[in-house]
Symmetry: D2
Subunit: 184 residues, 4 copies
């Protein structure tokens, strides 16, 4: 049977990134949408907002090109219960009220995960992504836990490693390739 | 600042509804999308699937009419961690892995809530909707907890009552009116 | 193999109860501990605190009687992430940070559930208790949703009904009997 | 006002540890109880069970010594909804049904956190512990993520680092010291 499920990339990273990483996050959102992915994030500021903004920029391109497909979506999975706390660049807001336990929900919503910079919150999300068996790409130029874990294996439960991406486009391309390979 | 947030109606009800209620749920999904709402549900079968199917039917109408706006979305918030368990009629699947604690997340994702039929699971969702201060409409003809609570007040914390709706269109219209009234 | 698991009764009810219900909640906590049960609640004020206080009073009795067994415990499962928000009468505090999704966790922690008075929050907990297949007793004299649901069936998934208890002791006795009956 | 709240140490680590680490986990549970702490863990096998077993051994010592205090407790916070899945060495079982989102709840239940060995699941728990501002000790001899992070800082939000402990007793002593220092 036909499924309407849209493929989704989860973007995880700092709420207070460097200007370089913010630009990279914008590009991740934009490249994800250009490649046909919706994106999900924790829905607050920093990386989450920059990726959402990049995704909206790519949606605008699609609209101007006269695309008649159902556009990819920008999803915000908040720790708090109030929708208005989400970045305005999100289309769909899920205010979970779960606190930081929502980190697990953000990661599960992605078919693959891209990490940028990041402190301990992002580290919990990368760890979850690995534990849930999701393909993970980390942007090495962004610093933080993404850079520290790029190219490494988190434990022996998986035979692969966190993909070391040097650009937003490479990260999205890696996730797309992994998901294509998983299809029968 | 402009916000991209789409308005959302949460649809809650039985996973094994009567044929009549299934038809009503289809109409709720369809009328919600016709009125410009995305919908969210628990993402499994029964009411959840019928509402999602109705919403997709209305999205098809919008596409045929040449609508070039960003279409409303059909969102599934699953209790399990596997996306493939969701109804195929969902656009966006969030596999929370939270078990029935996800009932709180489904309800929080809606700006308003419409209930049909329903046993104890739906009852927990109606109770949450009331507790979270969401406008709630219950379809009286559908039976179950929706019928039992239609027109009643759940406790003294709110001055209003669960709206008793006799049709899908009336339920959607009620939610739309309540949300319009909330805007400054 | 020997198991150390202590049997637990979940006590659910209003955070702002009437004086009568507060007294009943105290008695529920006391009778539960006298019967060998630990108790779990949402850990805040009102019914939750009164039941915890009654349980501590019964623990004091046990200590004075020279009981050398491992005493029953008073458990608080908070919606917030800060332990100091719990009633001081709790022994074990779990500050979940899950918001009202913690209602599911409170109920799952009980082998049986006793409800007193209660508005929409308590209603969601009674609904969960039914859905999770737990034995449920409701104190009819306490009013609120406990009184409205005492003696009724929430849906057709179970053959029994919410036990209508006229006293704290009767409620605890009912739960104890149900759990004894479940043992091989 | 007097509070009954018991101090709690969360113990996190592999479900399939090496024999050495299993022995260390037993000692962590035992030393924690000897120092007056209850312990909480994820409630399944491996480190979680070994620590629970060590805690029960220390409780037996306390009973034989004629202690008349309310004994420390062994708490299991399960990802599943079925109590019988918990290690039999737990006194109090909370079957959350939250899946791996329960990792946040385990860590929040501790006033301090001790990590042993560990793969990606444990890594998410160490990251949460840091994010929640809990004192964290990691047993360097145990290997895994505990060894990798011992003595390091996870991000710039805190001025301290993960304490590098060479023995179970040193880890418990560190947590006890941190909590004593936090009291006015």
């Amino acid at each position: 049977m036909v499924s309407y499920h849209k493929p989704v990339i989860a973007v995880v990273g700092s709420s207070a990134p460097s200007p370089l990483t913010r630009q990279l996050a914008f590009e991740v959102g934009r490249e994800a949408v250009r490649a046909g992915f919706s994106i999900v994030s924790g829905g607050l500021g920093g990386i989450m907002e920059a990726a959402s903004q990049g995704a909206q920029a790519a949606k605008d391109e699609l609209r101007r090109s006269g695309s008649d497909v159902d556009l990819p979506q920008v999803i915000a999975v908040l720790p708090v219960a109030e929708k208005q706390r989400a970045t305005p660049f999100a289309d769909i807001v899920l205010p979970t009220g779960l606190g930081y336990a929502r980190n697990a929900v953000v990661v599960l919503a992605g078919d693959g995960v891209i990490a940028l910079e990041g402190g301990s919150g992002t580290l919990s999300e990368i760890a979850y992504a690995w534990q849930f068996g999701k393909p993970v790409a980390a942007l090495a130029p962004s610093g933080g836990w993404a850079a520290r874990l790029a190219g490494t294996s988190l434990d022996g439960k998986r035979g692969d490693s966190v993909y070391r991406a040097e650009s937003a486009a490479a990260a999205v391309e890696f996730i797309a390739g992994q998901l294509a390979g998983n299809k029968p």
